[in-house]
Symmetry: C2
Subunit: 515 residues, 2 copies
């Protein structure tokens, strides 16, 4: 067996059985090995940013990594922006990056580059294999490394000769690294902070936002009166009917300052205190009130969910939370104006239970986020690193991870253009993803930001950089060009009918909402 086969067999036995790939010549032995190894599903993506974004969506939903297969330094480079986003989500991912044969590097052929240099800013673990004999154990280490803490990016660089030379065989899987148990002193400090009479909040992230963690958060809130908040963006959050409600901090710094006004005590579990997304002249970067005490119930190497469980018990909280979101939705009238709020109301009303929502709707996202608070229960995945162009790939990967659930992608038109190739993979794999494009023909967030940075009104040159008219993008044609059926909604009635239809059928579909 060659190094590539020992690698693929090791990945599979380590639990990594899905690979989002965009291979080239230097990865052909890996590709060939997938014919020799059962149980490795290799999913072709037509751009590397799709592969890395899909691995993010997959990893968030599975809690264990998918692999990516990328073609040398430039192939990795095309995937870096969504790896940046995945790093901010603490998603486990194993990148396999082919490279020139070890003896060929010296000739500096055209595709030669500093692969390690490209990988470093996004990777928690990097290794370049030096021999086919050790590729298998390198792979086992990469998988384990990707699951350190809440998850991180492990990049394994695979010189071509380490893939094609003879290897011994696969390596046994390593034990999955476990998150540390809660620190009793930290739990005690958090309990004291919440037991005082001050205005208190819990700021929740990571595994505190779904499953047991969210349940414990609700127990604590009911026992102490503390309000539950989470950061503006969160990797994975359960919400809707029957779930404990958590209020996300809003986007702009001034809004977060309003959200936190009067808060005297902030207990943090799985998150970090909020900072301004960007700096602005004369505006604050650090947004926690000056007289607010911050107490960490958990650190990043610990499970926030377990910490909240210990904290709830310490506080003598009831075993189950009772204040849960109601089920309350209402369709808009067919003659209402089509906008993010009416679109959001339709989505909330029609959302199948268990839907996974990939949200990169930016300025059009408020309506859907509000309406779905009381929709059937679902999970919400946000853009974590701010690099737009994550939503379509993220939905793609989430749909691969959870084939029995509907995936809904809410996306602004500007951001969707960065990685629109994801639609082709959705068509090829017949993934059950509905994409709603909010088509306002603008980088609308930038028009707002322009007004915030203190340079007056935009002139014609500046406007040309914020506006996506001339020419108008036609998302129906773009989707159909990649094999995804598509429709356009210009009225509430059209959107309702199209959305109802796609919620009842399986497979990819795109709706362009002209707003």
């Amino acid at each position: 067996m060659n190094g590539a086969e020992s690698l693929v067999r090791t990945l599979v036995s380590s639990g990594v059985n899905t690979c989002f790939s965009n291979p080239g010549t230097s990865e052909m032995h890996f590709v060939a090995a997938t014919d020799q190894v059962d149980d490795m599903r290799t999913i072709l993506c037509l751009f590397e940013g799709v592969a890395t974004g899909a691995a993010d969506g997959y990893g968030r939903m599975k809690g264990s990594p998918a692999a990516t297969l990328l073609h040398l330094g430039p192939g990795l480079a095309n995937g870096l922006a969504n790896l940046h986003n995945a790093r901010r989500a603490s998603t486990p991912i194993v990148n396999v990056v082919g490279d020139h044969a070890t003896y060929h590097k010296q000739f500096d052929a055209p595709l030669n580059s500093d692969v390690d240099g490209f990988a470093r800013p996004v990777s928690g673990w990097i290794h370049s294999s030096t021999s086919a004999a050790t590729v298998a154990s390198d792979a086992a280490r990469a998988v384990a490394a990707s699951m350190e803490g809440h998850g991180q990016i492990a990049t394994l660089i695979l010189p071509a000769d380490t893939a094609w030379d003879e290897a011994g065989g696969p390596a046994p899987p390593l034990e999955r690294p476990l998150l540390s148990a809660p620190d009793p002193d930290a739990i005690m400090r958090a309990a004291v902070a919440l037991s005082s009479k001050r205005s208190s909040i819990l700021l929740l992230g990571a595994d505190a936002l779904y499953g047991e963690g969210l349940r414990h958060a609700g127990r604590i809130a009911e026992a102490t009166g503390a309000r539950l908040f989470c950061p503006t963006s969160t990797p994975r959050r359960e919400r809707g009917h029957g779930r404990v409600q958590v209020q996300p901090l809003r986007y702009f710094g001034e809004q977060i300052e309003e959200d936190l006004a009067g808060v005297q005590s902030m207990v943090v579990a799985g998150a970090r205190p909020p900072v301004s997304f960007f700096a602005y002249p004369g505006k604050a970067s650090w947004l926690t009130p000056n007289n607010c005490e911050i107490t960490y119930a958990s650190q990043s190497h610990e499970s926030a969910a377990m910490a909240l469980g210990a904290l709830a018990d310490e506080l003598g909280a009831a075993a189950e939370p009772t204040a849960l979101a109601a089920h309350k939705t209402q369709l808009p009238a067919d003659h209402d104006a089509l906008n993010q709020f009416t679109v959001g109301a339709v989505i909330a009303h029609e959302l199948p239970e268990g839907t996974i929502v990939s949200d990169e709707a930016t300025t059009s996202g408020i309506g859907p986020a509000l309406s779905t608070q009381t929709a059937p229960p679902h999970e919400w995945l946000s853009l974590m690193g701010g690099s737009i162009g994550q939503g379509l790939p993220l939905a793609t990967g989430a749909a691969v991870a959870c084939p029995d659930r509907k995936t809904l992608c809410l996306h602004g038109d500007g951001g969707a253009m960065y990685t629109l190739q994801a639609l082709w993979t959705q068509a090829r794999e017949q993934l059950d993803v509905t994409t709603v494009i909010f088509s306002n023909r603008a980088y609308a967030i930038l028009a707002i930001e322009f007004g915030r940075v203190g340079v007056g009104a935009p002139g014609p040159n500046a406007l040309s950089q914020l506006d996506l008219h001339n020419p108008d993008l036609d998302w129906v044609k773009l989707a159909e060009g990649m094999g995804v059926s598509a429709s356009k909604s210009t009225t509430v009635k059209e959107f309702r009918e199209q959305f109802q239809s796609t919620m009842k059928t399986r497979g990819p579909h795109l709706i362009e909402v002209e707003i």
Copy 2:
């Protein structure tokens, strides 16, 4: 005047008046400054790889840099693959990469990243401005740095506060760095090498492949009998009727070994001796025959064109070359099969004089390259770094640089998917670019490479990674979705009529050739 305005004014006075941009909030002061400064043309791209690839095409044709405007580390990351290609082309480019305000970095907001780390593998020069007071002089230095040698990538990182704080004013332009004059000893050694009776070739690159350099190469060939070769890929090459003919080395190592068989003396000017594009088990990496003497007429800091002029004079060559390519083209019959050779014949017959050809046709490129050798004179731009997805942006930038010439982009369908967003910029700017997509629904080069790496025939899993059927891409819809008119050719007659029509009209058009 703030730092951003001092920067934009300095760029313009340093000769940089075109900026391919994809800005975000941290670049809003730069965007606002373009309303204050005449003569800076800012061209919006909907993906950063389009911006950097366009800057490559622009810089190759102008010999001086365009700027790019990119949004923090992830925005730069999306542009890295085409910066890798531009680095291999020695193209001058000035990247302006916004970053968080200097005082905001410490808060590690979501978009914070190691911008310098992302930039390093592709940049010859990197600087992060520390104050608005020095941004202007930093910009002047970046422009000069981008023109060191034959050209390189200069990356200027612009923290937001250095853009918005008050600055003194623009900085004066620095002198353009000049290439060194030829080394008389090297010229003498090359003259001796070419005067022997051995089988000799000249291997030409950089500025030896157009204008005066190419003319001098022809003089030398006629004086000495040396044959003229160039690498498989070259940044910019004049060819066609009336031009000195140069034979590119073929792609695969064995082919290059055949091309060079029996060569005893290789004189190199502006190039490097060929190496295999990839390593393969049991195949050579270094391709120059063992007994072939290599003599460098110029080094990378010298002008190859000037070196060849000195060498031609030293050899007593005639003042003008006389063996020039004839004008010889012939249309195929309408009933001939549609393939790269008949498509190439049509292109050669209809090509307007002075056309700029951006070639990323890969496995479909041989036909057009052969036919156009005797077409009307034109220039040929190759993919230099092997990272596919360069051709559409490169054509975009070349068309901006040379608005009075037709630009023709020849592209494989697989590669074109990486940066298809370039079509939108072509539509918005109404660039005179005709794109021919060779639609074979495959990574055809990979099917060939699979056969070369010694792993037998591909099984179903491997085939799924090489084949782009299921679903078929529809390039007419993709182009129209971005505002570019498009047509599909399934016969020679259709292609001839469509190509003739687009050669006679201005503005962007795409032809999908189903082969």
